[in-house]
C-alpha cells in the first residue's frame, strides 16, 4: 500500500519567537497543514505523532502537552523521542498496517526558551566516560570534522563553500532565519571554534514547527488529494559510545539510506535522485552525509561542492531550502522540515526557489550531538 504526504504546514523559523509559546507554534503549523490537506483533524485523522525530547522541552513528560493544540485530545497520540523523520517512519508503518488511514506528524523547536542549551546537550554525553571530561559537547563535532577532512582529503575550503551556498539559498526562502550573502572567504576567516570548525561552520538555533499529514493511497483518493508519495523510509543508529563509533563515515546514514532505497527500489541513487535535503548542522556534515547516502563517492563531495554541483543550478541541488545553516537548527524538527521542503519541491510549490523537473527527492536527518542516529526518506511524485 502506498503512503503519501497530503498536507504540509510550517511556521517561519526565527532565532527567537517571544510572541509565541510552543503550543501556539504547534497550533499554527498544524492549522496550516490541515488547511493544506483540506481536512478536519477532529474527524479525518486516525493517529497523531509528535517528535520531542524532554530536555529540549524543559518538561518531565512532554507528551502530556501535545494533544489540544493539534486537535488530538481523546485520540490515538504518541511521542517518538527522535527526529521528525523517525516520527514520519513510524506514521508510515502505522498506515502500512492498515489500521490507520490518516496520520499527522509534528515536530518543533523552541530553542530560544532554553537558558542553558550547551548544558542540555552536554547531558546527552555518557555520564561516566565523557561528561566528566568537562569539554563543550561540540568538541565531538570538531573531532569528527577533523577525522572526515583527513580521511577524505577534503579541503577546509569545501566547508566554507557549503556555508556560503546554504546561507545564500536561504535568502530565497521566506521561512529561513539566517539567510545571508556569505562569501567563501568570510566563512574561512570566521573565528575558530572547535578546530577545524569555525563559527560559520556551525548552524545557529531557531524556533519553528513543522506538521505533515500522511494518508494511505485509499484515504488520499477519498480526500481528493494529490499526494507526494513516501517511496521509502529508513533509520538506523551507529554506536552511541564515542570511543567505538566510526568517525569518518556516517554509518547511521549509510544503513538508513540502504533501507530507504531498498523500499523505494532506488538502485542508483546518484542518478535517480533529483533533489536532496541533507542534514548540515555542521558544514562538514552535509559532505559526509552526501557520501554516506551514495550521492557522492567517498572523498568526492568536497570537490563537487567546489565545482558547484550542489547549487540550485547544479547537477544535484542540495539544501535549496537553505538547510540548517540557512534556516536555523530546529533540533528534532530538522528532518521533518527537510521532508516538507522536498515535498514542496516535488509538488511545484517551492515559490522562487522552485527547481525544474524534479520527481524524486531525498530528505535526511541526524539526531545532532552526540548521537550517531539518523533517518532517510525517499519521496516521489507520479507513477
Amino acid at each position: 500500500m502506498r503512503v503519501g504526504i497530503i498536507g504540509v504546514g510550517m511556521t517561519a523559523f526565527r532565532p527567537s519567537t517571544p510572541e509565541y509559546n510552543w503550543k501556539e507554534l504547534m497550533f499554527e503549523a498544524a492549522s496550516r497543514a490541515y488547511a493544506d490537506a483540506e481536512i478536519n483533524p477532529r474527524e479525518d485523522v486516525d493517529s497523531f505523532l509528535t517528535c520531542a525530547e524532554d530536555y529540549y522541552e524543559g518538561f518531565g513528560i512532554f507528551d502530556e502537552f501535545v494533544p489540544d493544540q493539534l486537535g488530538a485530545a481523546l485520540r490515538p497520540t504518541c511521542t517518538v523521542s527522535g527526529d521528525g523523520l523517525q516520527g514520519l517512519a513510524n506514521a508510515y508503518m502505522q498506515i502500512q498496517t492498515g489500521l490507520i488511514d490518516v496520520a499527522v506528524v509534528e515536530a518543533h523547536s523552541k530553542a530560544s526558551d532554553i537558558v542553558t542549551l550547551d548544558g542540555v546537550i552536554e547531558h546527552a554525553l555518557d555520564p561516566i566516560w565523557n561528561k566528566p571530561l568537562g569539554a563543550h559537547p561540540f568538541v565531538v563535532a570538531g573531532l569528527e570534522a577533523d577525522a572526515y577532512l583527513r580521511v577524505t582529503r577534503t579541503s577546509p575550503k569545501a566547508l566554507a563553500m557549503v556555508v556560503a551556498k546554504n546561507h545564500g539559498n536561504a535568502l530565497k526562502n521566506p521561512l529561513a532565519a539566517y539567510g545571508a550573502a556569505v562569501e567563501v572567504e568570510d566563512a574561512m576567516r570566521s573565528p575558530e571554534r572547535f578546530a577545524p570548525l569555525r563559527a560559520l561552520d556551525i548552524s545557529n538555533p531557531a524556533d519553528g514547527c513543522v506538521v505533515l499529514v500522511l494518508a494511505s493511497e485509499r484515504a488520499a483518493k477519498k480526500l481528493h488529494s494529490n499526494p507526494v508519495w513516501i517511496r521509502g523510509v529508513g533509520w538506523a543508529s551507529d554506536s552511541p559510545s564515542l570511543e567505538t563509533r566510526d568517525w569518518s563515515d556516517a554509518a547511521y546514514a549509510r544503513i538508513a539510506a540502504e533501507m530507504a532505497y531498498r523500499l523505494a527500489k532506488v538502485r542508483r541513487p546518484a542518478t535517480e535522485i533529483d533533489v536532496a535535503e541533507i542534514d548540515d548542522r555542521f558544514s562538514y556534515k552535509e559532505l559526509q552525509h552526501l557520501e554516506s547516502l551514495g550521492l557522492a563517492k567517498k572523498g568526492d563531495a568536497g570537490k563537487r561542492v567546489m565545482r558547484g554541483d550542489y547549487g540550485a543550478e547544479g547537477r544535484l541541488p542540495v539544501n535549496v531550502s537553505g538547510g540548517s545553516l540557512g534556516c536555523g537548527n530546529v533540533f528534532e524538527a530538522t528532518g521533518l522540515h527537510r521532508a516538507a521542503e522536498v515535498a514542496l519541491q516535488l509538488r511545484g510549490d517551492a515559490g522562487v526557489r522552485q527547481l525544474d523537473r524534479v520527481r524524486t527527492g531525498v530528505a535526511q536527518s541526524w539526531r545532532f550531538i552526540p548521537s550517531a542516529t539518523g533517518a532517510v526518506a525517499v519521496l516521489g511524485v507520479g507513477g
Binding site: 525530547e53 524532554d54 530536555y55 529540549y56 524543559g58 518538561f59 518531565g60 513528560i61 507528551d63 502530556e64 502537552f65 501535545v66 494533544p67 489540544d68 488530538a72 485530545a73 481523546l74 485520540r75 490515538p76 497520540t77 504518541c78 511521542t79 517518538v80 523521542s81 527522535g82 523517525q86 517512519a89 513510524n90 508510515y92 508503518m93 502505522q94 502500512q96 498496517t97 492498515g98 489500521l99 542540555v120 546537550i121 547531558h123 546527552a124 555518557d126 555520564p127 561516566i128 529508513g234 533509520w235 538506523a236 543508529s237 551507529d238 554506536s239 552511541p240 559510545s241 554509518a251 547511521y252 544503513i255 538508513a256 533501507m259 523500499l263 539526531r367 552526540p370 548521537s371 542516529t373
Partner: protein
C-alpha cells in the same frame, strides 16, 4: 496486516540497582528475552526502546544512551515515550514495526533507573506540570492522585478497606515472582490501613514506590514463527492507545475515558464485543491500588463503581473468575515506570504459554488484556493477547 506474536520475554530484578548502569540493565533483560525465544541479536531486524523521563537517569536523549545495551547497534532503533503509558505502548510500537511488513523480528526493550535521581524521583515530577497554571501550586503526584482517589471513593461510596484489598491481593500474588521487590505473603488489609498517610486518602502501602529495572520482549511475524517452528508464542490481537486533554482540571477524574477509548479500539481490532465474557484475565496498571479498580472500569471489565465489589467478592483473585494482576502488578513486583512491561506484556506471554510457574492461573486462559496509564492522568495504552 501481518499477524504478530510475542515469542520471548525477560526482566531483571526490580531493586535499587546501584551496581548497574541503565545500559547494563537493558542488556540483562534483552539477553533473557532473546534466550527465551531461542534467537540471537543477528535475528533481530529492528529495536524499539521504551523509557520514561530522561531526568530519572539524568541523561538527555536517554534512548540514544541505552541503544547499545538494548541491541540497537547498527539497526533501525527508535524510542517511544508516553509517560507511564510506555509500559504497554512500546509493544504497540513494536507491533506496527512487524504488522507493517517492514520487520520480521523486533526487540522491545524498556528501562527505568529512578535511583539515580536524588534525593527522590518525585523531584522530576515537579517538572511535569503546566509552568504557569499548575507549577506555582507546587503539586506532586501523590497529592494529585489523592484527589482522583478521593473523587472515585466519593462518587461511588467506596470504602478504603475495599481499595486496600487490591494492595493485599497484588503483594501476595507477587510471592514467587523472581523479580519482585514488594511481595509479602502475610500482608493484611489492616497493615495497609495502618500505614503512614502520604496525602489523604493515599497511604504508604497504597503506592508502589520507585525502583530500577528493565524488561524486554521479542515480537515476530507469523511467517517467522511458522518457519522457525516456535511453540511458545502469544498473538497480539488488538492494540489501542489514546491521550486525553492536557487540562486535567477540565476532566471528570472519576472515569478514565482515555482508557475506555483505547480499550474499545483494541477490542474492535480483536473482534471482542463482550469483554467481560471474552477476556479471561487482565493486567491493568496498578501503581496505586485504586488505579487497578479505576482501570478495570475503564477496560469495561467492571461497571462503573463495581470494581471494588468484584475485588471484595474474590472475582479478581488468581483463582477467581477474572484474575487481575496475577503477576503481582506494580504493587507487588515494583514500579520502574516503563520497565513494568514485564508484568503487563511479559506476564500475558508467560500466562498464555503456561510459563508463569508459581504465578500460573490454575484454570485455562486463552485471552488476556494488559494496560498502562501515563502522562498526567491522561494516557491509556491497551494490548489484547491470545494464546
Amino acid at each position: 496486516m501481518t499477524k504478530v506474536g510475542v515469542i520471548g520475554a525477560g526482566m531483571t530484578l526490580f531493586r535499587r540497582r546501584l551496581e548497574e548502569t541503565g545500559k547494563e540493565l537493558c542488556f540483562e533483560a534483552t539477553k533473557m528475552a532473546l534466550d527465551s525465544a531461542g534467537l540471537t541479536r543477528g535475528d533481530v531486524d529492528m529495536v524499539v526502546c521504551g523509557t520514561a523521563p530522561d531526568a530519572f537517569d539524568g541523561v538527555a536523549m536517554k534512548g540514544e544512551y541505552l541503544l547499545d545495551g538494548s541491541g540497537g547497534y547498527r539497526k533501525p532503533y527508535t524510542r517511544v515515550f508516553t509517560g507511564g503509558g510506555t509500559g504497554v505502548f512500546s509493544t504497540i510500537a513494536g507491533w506496527w514495526h512487524v504488522a507493517s511488513g517492514l520487520a520480521d523480528v523486533v526487540l522491545v526493550v524498556n528501562e527505568e533507573k529512578m535511583s539515580s535521581c536524588q534525593p527522590h524521583p518525585q523531584s522530576v515530577f515537579a517538572h511535569i506540570w503546566d509552568p504557569i497554571l499548575d507549577r506555582p501550586l507546587k503539586p506532586n503526584l501523590v497529592w494529585i492522585f489523592a484527589m482522583e482517589m478521593n473523587r472515585y471513593m466519593t462518587v461511588y461510596g467506596v470504602k478504603k478497606e475495599d481499595i486496600a484489598r487490591v494492595a493485599v491481593k497484588n503483594k501476595r500474588n507477587a510471592v514467587g515472582h523472581p523479580c519482585a521487590q514488594l511481595a509479602d505473603p502475610n500482608i493484611t488489609v489492616d497493615d495497609v490501613l495502618n500505614s503512614e498517610v502520604m496525602a489523604w486518602p493515599v497511604q504508604r502501602l497504597d503506592i508502589s514506590p520507585p525502583s530500577d529495572g528493565a524488561s524486554a520482549v521479542v515480537l515476530a511475524s507469523e511467517d517467522f514463527i511458522r518457519k522457525r517452528r516456535i511453540k511458545d508464542r502469544a498473538w497480539i490481537s488488538g492494540v489501542g492507545w489514546c491521550i486525553d486533554s492536557t487540562m486535567w482540571t477540565d476532566r471528570d477524574l472519576v472515569f478514565p475515558e482515555y482508557v475506555a477509548r483505547a480499550a474499545k479500539h483494541a477490542y474492535k481490532m480483536a473482534k471482542i464485543d463482550e469483554p467481560r465474557r471474552q477476556i479471561d484475565f487482565a493486567e491493568p496498571y496498578d501503581p496505586f491500588d485504586y488505579k487497578e479498580l479505576h482501570h478495570l472500569e475503564g477496560l469495561l471489565l467492571a461497571d462503573k463503581g463495581e470494581a471494588p465489589i468484584l475485588t471484595r467478592e474474590g472475582v479478581t483473585e488468581r483463582d477467581g473468575k477474572m484474575p487481575v494482576c496475577p503477576s503481582g502488578g506494580l504493587l507487588g513486583v515494583g514500579n520502574p515506570i516503563a520497565a513494568t512491561m514485564g508484568m503487563k506484556i511479559g506476564e500475558l506471554f508467560w500466562q498464555l504459554t503456561g510459563q508463569a510457574g508459581k504465578r500460573q492461573i490454575p484454570h485455562e486462559v486463552h485471552t488476556g488484556v494488559s494496560q498502562a496509564w501515563g502522562d498526567l492522568m491522561q494516557y491509556g495504552s491497551v494490548v489484547v493477547m491470545r494464546g
